[in-house]
């Protein structure tokens, strides 16, 4: 076996080195683009905040995923190309070692080369990132996980590549179906919620594909001579492949052909409040404004034209404000580890070329954008003024966006008990609000700029705790208004405040006036409302000048109006029955019957084939059930995987019989001996 390892290492070293070079260049280029994004952001233009930590940058991860996939599959495939010639394959197989040893030798060599070509550049990247002075973003070792997963997914591709090269299949394309399983496991790295999910999927894919490759070595790439484990693994891999092809094919057909033919309308509505406090319901259909009515149903007319007001005109009249989503319901942000850096940190502020991050542990750290070194952290202080290690609250959906108008260097940040106003120029934290009730906690907060008066902007903070909703003046800590949090934060996690004031944007030096009139909205949780069949209304409170409740209203819930068009139903009906039931969450229904019927037809075809080619009883039952459960992909798998022997007429009973059986399945006759023509020369050979 060692000889095989050495031979394969030597044979394929070139490929690995080329891969090493290409990957290093790719990573270098991706790293450089991250640095340029940083420079862009420091200069004030827009940059992907994702790219600040190269290990988590989407473009780097995507490039790495593609490379590991192509390199892994290519390496596996090329390893088999070395014995592509049937006689070289014979030379290899005729070694006096077991096929399993040959398999092990080849795969050990291949995996070593994969680690060299794909792993070494990644190691170098990590080393660079870890060294201070290179990356202006927080680092923790868990950030390496996405790249590790991508690297491991490449192993699945390696085995899929080997399988593609080894399999003797009549339909050439079906050799590459093993890649589907690898693609699924690689895609799951980007789609899963928890990091262990893709890890399990990759491990399963690698196990199945490796077993299929082992089986292929046992039988020389044929289906029939393989041990059971190899066959099962091959069936699973091929099913994924057939399913994938079907999925893509159907998807493309639907997207390109059927979808344009069907007229789907997509409609949604929402409530808007104008600056005078009136609420309107705005309905959009297929992207166009379809309806604009007030709560009594009267259409809002443009006074100039007499027609329904157009959207642009309407938007000039809208009130301004901000909203808060409480995090008390779920403290942990279930973020996908590979969807950008949001899982690990949020870019909070850029001031004076220093980037401030709120990481997932609740620490606010700063990095100098030019030297890319850490400048320390801003820690909250406790009541006695010393720095405490209390974590800051994480804010879901917080996007740092510099719009160029506001003075961005002062903004709020809160721990569980206190809201601070952070000044990033001076690097100080000033407490603005502290919960008074001992066991109350801060749920959400947002900084809102008020275009107030001649004095310029006023900074305010909207804070919600478990029990209260407050609007604070951020500069002097005074409360502008305070309300009890009714209805509770659990059902109504979103609170919005609308500023009812007349203002003009301070662009032409015109002044704005403030009326100190506010309206507060309590919006219900979408999923709870769905479960309650949309019975939960939106509560709106208008506050009077003394900041007590002057008027309330309850607005009926709005939901997306979506026709379940027939192309959608047809597409899902092609899914195999178990999936379809799960999808539709019901067993009966016309489309479900369609799905069952389709599966039944496939199963009948499958059983017919099994009988015609004389499978054993167990195999017939197994395959029929398999095809029924898996529908069209199941049938395709049966056709791809099995080797179908030719059929000839039996000399005795004249029926077609498979040529791989000794006895005719109809009449039991053996095959006739070769026809003689009188010119045979046979003489028994003597023993020497």
């Amino acid at each position: 076996m060692k000889a095989i390892i050495q031979k394969d290492l030597r044979e394929n070293l070139k490929v690995a080195l080329i891969g090493l070079l290409i990957f290093s260049l790719m990573l270098l280029q991706a790293y450089q683009s991250c640095i340029s994004a940083l420079v862009n952001m420091l200069n004030g233009s827009y940059g992907q905040s994702n790219s600040l930590q190269p290990l988590l940058a989407t473009n780097l991860l995507t490039e790495a995923a593609f490379f590991c996939a192509i390199f892994g599959a290519g390496l596996g495939w090329l390893q088999t190309r070395n014995e592509a010639h049937l006689d070289l394959w014979a030379f290899l197989i005729h070694r006096p070692v077991t096929r399993t040893e040959i398999f092990r030798g080849k795969t050990i060599a291949g995996l070593c080369l994969y680690v060299l070509g794909a792993g070494l550049p990644l190691l170098i990247l990590v080393a660079v990132v870890v060294t201070p002075g290179h990356v202006a973003a927080p680092f923790e070792w868990a950030m390496v996980v996405p790249l590790v997963l991508i690297f491991l997914a490449g192993v699945a591709f390696y085995f899929a590549g080997l399988l593609t090269g080894l399999r003797q299949a009549r339909w050439f394309a079906s050799r590459s179906f093993g890649l589907a399983l690898a693609i699924i496991s690689s895609a799951s790295v980007f789609a899963a919620d928890e990091f262990w999910q893709p890890l399990v999927l990759i491990a399963v894919a690698v196990l199945i594909l490796a077993t299929a490759v082992w089986g292929a070595y046992q039988s020389g790439g044929f289906y029939r001579g393989q041990p059971v484990m190899g066959r099962l693994a091959l069936i699973v891999a091929m099913t994924a492949g057939c399913g994938g092809v079907l999925f893509v094919g159907v998807g493309l057909t639907f997207a390109l052909v059927i979808q344009p033919l069907s007229h789907r309308s997509f409609e949604y509505s929402n409530y808007q409040m104008t600056r005078d406090g009136t609420i309107y319901k705005e309905t959009t259909r297929d992207g166009e404004l379809a309806e604009l009515v007030d709560l009594d149903g009267h259409t809002l007319l443009d006074p100039k034209t007499g027609q329904r007001m157009k959207r642009k005109e309407f938007q000039k009249r809208l009130s301004y404000g901000g909203s808060v989503y409480t995090t008390l319901k779920q403290r942990n942000l279930n973020r996908n580890i590979t969807q950008g850096s949001a899982y690990f940190f949020t870019l909070w502020n850029i001031t004076d070329k220093t980037l401030w991050y709120l990481d997932r542990h609740g620490k606010l750290t700063g990095f100098d954008g030019r030297t890319r070194k850490s400048v320390g952290s801003l820690d909250p202080h406790g009541a006695d003024g010393t720095s405490s290690s209390e974590p800051f609250l994480l804010q879901p959906d917080y996007n740092y966006y510099y719009n160029g108008y506001n003075d961005d260097s002062r903004k709020p940040i809160a721990t569980a008990k206190t809201v601070f106003q952070a000044d990033f120029k001076a690097r100080t934290l000033k407490p603005v609000f502290t919960v008074t009730n001992g066991d109350d906690e801060i749920g959400g907060y947002a900084g809102i700029n008020i275009y107030a008066d001649e004095n310029g902007q006023k900074k305010s903070v909207l804070v919600t705790t478990r029990q209260t909703v407050q609007l604070m003046d951020a500069d002097n800590g005074r409360s502008i208004f305070a309300l009890p949090y009714q209805p509770g934060y659990f059902e109504y996690p979103q609170v919005q405040v609308s500023f009812l004031q007349i203002y003009k944007r301070a662009t032409n030096n015109s002044t704005a006036a403030s009326t100190n009139k506010y309206a507060v909205w309590f919006k219900p949780d979408y999923e709870l409302n769905q479960k309650a069949h949309w019975k939960m209304p939106t509560h709106v409170l208008w506050l009077g000048p003394d900041q007590t409740v002057a008027k309330t209203a309850e607005l009926p819930a709005l939901r997306l109006q979506n026709d379940d068009s027939w192309p959608d139903k047809l597409a899902t009906a092609l899914l195999p029955p178990p999936v379809h039931i799960e999808f539709n969450k019901k067993i009966y229904g016309a489309w479900n019957l369609f799905s069952f019927a389709l599966a039944g037809i496939c199963a009948a075809i499958g059983r017919n084939l099994a009988r015609r080619y004389n499978f054993s009883t167990g195999a017939t039952i197994g395959w029929t059930l398999f095809v029924f459960l898996l529908g069209i992909p199941g049938l395709l798998t049966l056709l791809c995987v099995q080797e179908w022997p030719a059929r000839e007429n039996c000399p005795n009973c004249k029926n077609l019989r498979a040529v791989d059986r000794e006895n005719c399945e109809h009449c039991g006759e053996k095959f006739s001996p070769p026809e003689t023509n009188g010119t045979e020369i046979f003489e028994p050979l003597a023993k020497t």
């Binding site: 060692k2 000889a3 031979k7 030597r10 044979e11 070395n82 010639h85 049937l86 006689d87 070289l88 394959w89 014979a90 030379f91 197989i93 005729h94 070694r95 006096p96 070692v97 077991t98 039988s219 020389g220 044929f222 029939r224 001579g225 022997p645 030719a646 040529v659 791989d660 059986r661 000794e662 095959f671 001996p673 070769p674 026809e675 023509n677 009188g678 010119t679 045979e680 020369i681 046979f682 003489e683 050979l685 003597a686 023993k687 020497t688």
Partner: protein, 309 residues
């Protein structure tokens, strides 16, 4: 079905799709002989050898090599068989010495003297890369790699293919050298009938997927006979003769080649009343060509072409 057969097949059959490549092969190869496997290109020889070596699964039928089922050849059995493939394929990037080292790691019974001897006999330099070797040199290297582990049995698939006469002579000499040990069996396929005549004890002839002859070499040559009949004018039509292979008709002659020429055939020929009837002795090559050529009556092809304006 004796225990001394090193190769034994019963009903061995292979189909490629709907096409028959090997049909119902029953073969017994005794130990210690030199067995030549003959047939036209595409008649099923290489397929049979690949099945016997466990590289290709048979469609049906059984086969045993050295007593073991060909579908599950264990490493121990493989160590006892030396297999030379048709195209003399090796890893091109290795050189001669490395090829030897690679091979020797697998076989504990590696005799380096034999390896160096054969390599030297073919004039190969140890540092020459395989991809730079000529066909004959590659064949020599393959032969060295096959012989050095001193296998009990040699399976050679068209070892002389593409070799120049000098290399072929070296090959035949190596085969004869091997017969020094009487328990060694050599099974080979070939188109070079002169080499087969020199070296084979038994031959088997494959005709379009069917085994048509399996006998000692002399028996084959003896069994195919040609009779020349001279007529005063145009020869008459030939009636059906048992064992007829070919009949060639010229201006006033009829040459009839047939198998197992006996009294019955002679009687039929005499009924044609030829002026003369004599038997023409055939060499192995001519016998072989008649045996596997087109059956039936034909005129010499060129005279036909001349007859046309």
């Amino acid at each position: 079905m004796n225990d001394e057969s090193v190769i034994q097949t019963r009903g061995l059959t292979k189909y490629f799709g709907g096409k028959r490549a090997v049909y119902e092969l029953n073969l017994d190869v005794p130990r210690g002989c030199v067995f030549a496997f003959l047939g036209r290109n595409g008649s099923g020889k290489t397929t049979t050898i690949r099945m016997l070596m466990g590289l290709m699964p048979p469609t049906r039928g059984t086969g045993k090599i050295l007593g073991h089922d060909i579908r599950v050849l264990t490493p121990e059995i493989r160590a006892r068989i030396g297999y030379l493939t048709e195209e003399h394929q090796l890893y091109g990037w290795m050189n001669v010495k490395e090829s030897g080292e690679f091979q020797s790691k697998f076989f504990p019974r590696w005799n380096d003297k034999i390896f160096r001897g054969v390599v030297g006999h073919f004039g190969l330099k140890p540092t020459a890369k395989v991809k730079d070797l000529s066909r004959g040199e590659r064949a020599g290297l393959c032969l060295a790699l096959t012989l050095a582990p001193e296998p009990e049995m040699l399976m050679l698939d068209d070892p002389g293919l593409g070799l120049d006469p000098v290399a072929r002579r070296a090959l035949v000499e190596s085969m004869i050298f091997l017969t020094r040990k009487s328990d060694r069996t050599i099974f080979f396929s070939s188109h070079h009938l002169s080499d087969v005549e020199r070296v084979a004890d038994y031959i088997a002839v494959f005709d379009r997927s069917i085994l048509r002859a399996c006998c000692p070499l002399e028996k084959f040559q003896e069994s195919v006979q040609q009779m020349r009949l001279r007529f005063p004018g145009a020869p008459p039509t030939l009636p059906k003769i048992p064992g007829l292979l070919q009949a060639i008709r010229t201006e006033n002659e009829l040459r009839v080649t047939c198998v197992h020429y006996n009294g019955e055939a002679e009687k039929i020929l005499r009924t044609l009343s030829p002026l003369e009837m004599e038997s023409v002795p055939l060499g192995l090559e001519d016998a072989f060509i008649s045996y596997l050529g087109e059956r039936g009556e034909k005129t010499f092809i060129l005279s036909e072409m001349e007859a046309q304006p």
